[in-house]
């Protein structure tokens, strides 16, 4: 037995897991090798001392926690065991409904698609009615009005045209926008802008303020193009109150002949 063998055997020697023959072989080596003897004694002492470290007790909470968790685990397990059987039943039931023929399968799929679309459609309609969308819409309208109003103040005629264009995008313009458009019809230097403003007012012509404004405008206008457009509009909205102004226009000598003819025609339309 050499020193390496002895080292390998030391753990067995300490634990006593060694037969007598091996033990006496170790001891005879120690008798002749002081280094191994010393090492065995020192380390053997450490090994023995370790045995003096007492065992500790865990707290009582450990058992309580274990039992509680085990109970929860077992319950969960039982539920999981029950689970598949109900699911299997459901699966079977569902399979019973599913047609075997591909044509009917296709029909089924189409029907569900249609139902899905319907549901989706009705859902989105509902959400459109919700407050948030309404608020958003209001905000957009407000922004458009602001844009329209500020553009109508611009120097450049094309910018003012854009302003009129924006005012059309406001579904129900407020009085501020409408009076700005009326002002444009009355006073804008550019005929094109005036015509565009007139067009923009068409949809709001039922508004009393607009109607009055247009009637007054008929007397103010000097451009034949705008006059004719105004006359057409008044006919369109069948404004009976326009008759007097139209009569005046038809008989006034300073007015463009074509405008007079148009006014005459309008009078007949309104009667």
């Amino acid at each position: 037995m050499n020193c390496d063998d002895v080292r390998d055997q030391l753990p067995d020697y300490w634990t006593g897991a060694m037969d007598e023959a091996a033990k006496s072989a170790m001891q005879s080596h120690f008798a002749s090798c002081a280094a191994c003897r010393a090492e065995s004694e020192t380390l053997g002492a450490i090994w023995k001392k370790l045995g003096a470290i007492p065992e500790e007790r865990p707290s009582r909470a450990l058992r309580a926690r274990f039992e509680a968790t085990l109970e929860a685990y077992v319950q969960g397990l039982r539920q999981a065991e029950r689970g598949p059987s109900t699911r299997e039943k459901l699966d079977k039931w569902l399979v019973g409904w599913w047609p075997r023929e591909p044509v009917f399968q296709f029909g089924f799929a189409m029907a569900f698609l249609a139902i899905g679309l319907l549901v989706g459609y009705s859902l989105t309609r509902n959400t459109q009615d919700s407050g948030e969308v309404a608020r958003l819409r209001e905000e957009v309208q407000h922004t458009r009005e602001l844009v329209a109003l500020s553009l109508l103040q611009e120097q450049s005629a094309s910018e003012r045209l854009k302003g009129v264009d924006w005012s059309i995008r406001v579904p129900q313009p407020d009085p501020q926008v409408l009076s700005a458009l009326l002002r444009t019809v009355d006073y804008d230097q550019n005929v094109n802008v005036r015509l565009a403003a007139l067009d923009a007012l068409h949809s709001s012509a039922s508004n009393e303020m607009v109607r009055q404004g247009l009637l007054q405008s008929l007397q103010r206008q000097t451009s034949p193009l705008v006059q004719i457009a105004l006359i057409d509009l008044l006919v369109d909205i069948r404004d009976k109150d326009a008759a007097n102004s139209l009569k005046g226009l038809a008989q006034e000598s300073g007015v463009n002949p074509e405008v007079r003819v148009r006014a005459d025609w309008a009078l007949r339309q309104l009667q």
Binding site: R7, D8, Q9, L10, P11, D12, T15, A17, E39, T42, L43, I46, W47, K49, L50, G51, A52, I53, P54, E55, E56, R57, P58, S59, A61, L62, R63, R65, F66, E67, T69, L70, Y73, V74, L77
Partner: protein, 187 residues
């Protein structure tokens, strides 16, 4: 009625009698607690790990084959639980003050002897805490958990001869640390 061996109980657990795990808890929780306490020196953590081991046993109960050595299997799980936990905390040891060790010396010795013994045990524990984890592990398994070298070899996944070499080296290093600590104390 004679108590069933661990292996038979674990097979029953595997085959659906899950509540039988309580029997194994009764038998082993204290040993496992001491195993973790010696590795971590932290009572709370050790209790968490004991709990973890028993629920891992449930989780992996299907892997328990007839003929498996239950003790080795349990310590394999325990070791993995500890490794996972250490990785989670990114620490090998969660140091705890000496309050982790409540009972210190045997009550029979006379006061002077008891004091000396208590000091020695305290030093040994500090020396153990300073031992690298792999050496501490093999030493704890062989000295405190009373595992046979063949069982330790199964737990660590190595040869019996290698286990003995590791135990020898662990004891030698522990002895050196213990001597250093005693020297510090004496000087």
């Amino acid at each position: 009625m004679e108590a069933q061996p661990d292996q038979a109980v674990m097979l029953a657990v595997r085959d659906g009698d899950v509540e039988q795990i309580g029997v194994l808890f009764e038998r082993h929780h204290r040993m496992l607690f001491n195993f973790f306490l010696r590795l971590t020196a932290n009572r709370g953590l050790s209790e968490d790990l004991v709990q973890d081991v028993f629920f891992r046993m449930l989780k992996y109960r299907q892997t328990f084959q007839a003929g498996t050595n239950f003790t080795s299997w349990m310590y394999q799980i325990a070791r993995n639980a500890h490794i996972d936990q250490a990785r989670k905390r990114r620490l090998e040891v969660v140091p705890d003050d000496e309050a982790a060790w409540d009972s210190v010396a045997s009550a029979e010795a006379d006061p002077q002897e008891r004091l000396e013994q208590a000091q020695e045990i305290r030093l040994l524990r500090r020396a153990l805490d300073r031992l690298p984890l792999e050496k501490r592990e093999v030493l704890v398994l062989s000295r405190f958990q009373n595992l046979k070298y063949s069982e330790i070899a199964e737990v660590l996944g190595c040869e019996v001869g290698a286990v003995k070499v590791r135990v020898f080296r662990a004891v030698r290093e522990l002895g050196q640390i213990f001597l250093e600590l005693s020297g510090e104390k004496a000087s």
